[in-house]
């Protein structure tokens, strides 16, 4: 009988580089190169059909001093983010806490609540929203049927922004699901111990629940803020940036400047302002959370 000798495979770690090769190429070509290019473009007068020519900080100067549209868009974008991110997360947390009791049919409920999130960024739903909030639309009909006055949702600058925010907040389901899962991981023993010490529901919520799920809250705030600052589709489809540029978020300004007027250099500068905002918010959040976010394994990878 001959024993076939099985040779053990010696794993070579550098093989890892082979496996990550696609990503490496993708990163260099489609992420790093565009990232650096757009920084470069932002300092040039690049109008797509000519070659970029260096003009220093002129684009930024224009954005911050002589372009009234910019401050408007900046304001609109920030207001939008301030409404939607807390709005979404508070709703998500509130409902998640409610659902975290042993309720019946929780599967069905979770499904129903998650449904709107399926349509994140969907044009079909944006069109639906536009239709619902038109002057003679259903929302106004509902208001008048309970003797409340009609609102010109899409025709007034302030309410148009609210309409768009509502669309986003309506889609809180995905965050809610995340919070639910996180809530389930909080050890019941903590709550029991607190009860023994005489803590009420509110105290338990703020001193146990929130800290325990703080990583998830934190993660959500960051990811949602990044998305919110880049909003485009809902403004574009529901209100077209109007009325009177009242929903003209920076994402739309970027699109118009780059793809209607071909001002690629200028639009790149706008994109870097957006990036700057994201960076600042992320850093601030990390700073703010360093004392407050509780990682069970100490936080290293």
């Amino acid at each position: 009988m001959r024993l076939k000798k099985i040779k053990k495979y010696r794993k070579k770690d550098y093989m890892g580089l082979v496996y990550i090769a696609p990503w490496l190429i993708g990163f260099l070509l489609l992420q790093l190169y565009p990232f650096l290019s757009s920084l470069y473009y932002s300092f040039t007068d690049y109008q797509f059909f000519n070659d970029p020519s260096w003009i220093g900080i002129q684009n930024y100067k224009k954005l911050f001093t002589t372009d009234p549209e910019f401050y408007n868009s900046l304001k609109v974008t920030i207001v939008y983010t301030l409404y939607t991110v807390p709005g979404k997360l508070i709703m998500a947390l509130f409902i998640a806490v409610l659902l975290n009791q042993n309720l019946k049919h929780i599967g069905v409920i979770r499904t129903i609540y998650y449904l709107p999130s399926l349509f994140s960024g969907s044009v079909a739903v944006a069109i639906l929203w536009k239709l619902l909030f038109m002057d003679e639309g259903t929302i106004n009909s509902l208001l008048t049927s309970i003797h409340l006055p009609k609102v010109q949702w899409l025709g007034t600058t302030s309410t148009a922004l609210v309409t768009i925010c509502l669309l986003e907040i309506w889609q809180f389901g995905s965050s809610m699901v995340m919070f639910l899962a996180a809530l389930k991981q909080v050890p019941v023993s903590l709550y029991e111990a607190a009860s023994l010490d005489g803590a009420g529901a509110v105290k338990k919520f703020f001193h146990i629940t929130i800290p325990q799920i703080s990583p998830i809250i934190f993660f959500n705030i960051i990811m949602q803020s990044i998305t919110a600052l880049q909003n485009f589709t809902s403004s574009f489809v529901v209100t077209g940036g109007g009325p009177n540029k009242g929903t003209y978020v920076l994402g739309m300004k970027l699109y118009t400047d780059a793809f209607t007027y071909f001002k690629m250099g200028y639009a790149s500068a706008t994109s870097w302002v957006i990036f700057g905002m994201i960076l600042v918010i992320t850093l601030l959040l990390f700073r703010f959370s360093s004392g407050k976010v509780y990682y069970e394994d100490g936080g290293d990878f």
Binding site: K8, Y9, R10, K11, D13, M15, G16, L17, V18, Y19, I20, P22, W23, G26, F27, L30, Q31, F35, S37, S38, F48, I95, I109, I112, Y113, Y114, L115, L118, S120, G121, S122, A124, I127, L128, K130, L131, L132, E136, G137, T138, W170, M178, L180, A181, A182, P215, I216, F219, I226, F232, T233, F236, L254, Y255, S268, S271, I274, F275, I278, D297
Partner: protein, 279 residues
């Protein structure tokens, strides 16, 4: 006891109310497809006066030469390859990061995490000019190639996290049997990764299906329009817009997503839940 019961009733009430708010728009969209323009505006009635499928039939015809069938095909032509390519490339890259300790790993991993927060807006313009140089505009390549090259750090990360939960001993025993790294991956890890792969695929399907901005700038001829662009053109007609038809098509366009969701709920929910948590 009474108090707890009252609380529970209150909770159920709130949940039911908010639940109605969640569903109402979608339900309305479906029913609007059966309504006439005058029923859509100025009426609180949810149900249509008559149940005719005209809006579906007429809306499907589309405008010009193309029916919504064509637009659906286009959407799937974009979404399916992109999803498949994404899952395959991301899982391979995740394997590389999760199981190998190559030189420079810490740095490259750090870069991966950093790109998680790279906003699309800051790279979109140079990507556009790059794709223009390659002659890829008005094709679906701007969707396929990033998928092929695993430009989705979110999925890489998600799959990595999942893989960390699979004991390395399994790998080791495969090596003992003489399997190379690829064999090990395919025969040992892949089967165990299935739920995560499925979740990743679902999410990429969802996100690509709903994409608008990229379609808007990369696709120019109506022949290649996905549903998102087709719907949007439908609402800027110069004459009387037939909203019933548009709602019919809008509903049909979200139907695949809803079906997919109901069938694969578990994966959606688990995917969302685990993406934010560690392992």
């Amino acid at each position: 006891m009474r108090k707890i019961k009252k609380n529970k009733v209150l909770i159920y009430l709130i949940i039911a109310l908010v639940g109605v708010l969640m569903i109402y728009p979608i339900l309305w969209m479906f029913l609007a497809a059966f309504k006439t323009n005058s029923e859509i505006f100025g009426s609180v009635k949810l149900l249509p006066g008559s149940w005719s499928f005209d809006a579906f039939v007429n809306g499907w015809k589309g405008t010009g030469r193309y029916s919504f069938g064509k637009f659906f095909l286009n959407t799937f032509a974009i979404v399916v390859p992109t999803t498949l390519l994404t899952v395959v490339s991301c899982m391979i890259v995740a394997y590389g990061f999760a199981r190998f300790n190559f030189p420079g790993k810490k740095l490259l991993f750090g870069i991966l995490i950093a790109t998680l927060m790279l906003p699309n807006t800051v790279i979109i313009i140079p990507r556009y000019t790059l794709f223009n140089k390659f002659g890829w505009l008005n094709t679906y390549l701007p969707f396929y190639i990033p998928a092929l090259l695993a430009c989705y750090p979110f999925f890489i990360f998600m799959l990595m996290q999942f893989m960390r939960g699979i004991p390395r001993e399994l790998d080791e025993s495969a090596y003992m049997d003489g399997c190379g790294t690829l064999r090990t991956f395919i025969s040992i890890l892949l089967p165990l990764l299935k739920p995560a792969l499925f979740s990743a695929g679902l999410f990429q399907f969802l996100w690509t299906y709903n994409d608008f901005f990229n379609s808007l700038i990369y696709i120019n001829s109506v022949e290649k329009y996905p549903i998102s662009l087709a719907l949007r053109s439908a609402i800027d007609a110069e004459a009387n817009v037939q909203w019933g038809q548009i709602m019919a098509m809008a509903f049909i366009s979200v139907l695949p997503l809803m079906i997919l969701f109901f069938v694969a709920q578990k994966y959606f929910v688990e995917g969302v839940a685990t993406s934010g948590l560690k392992g």
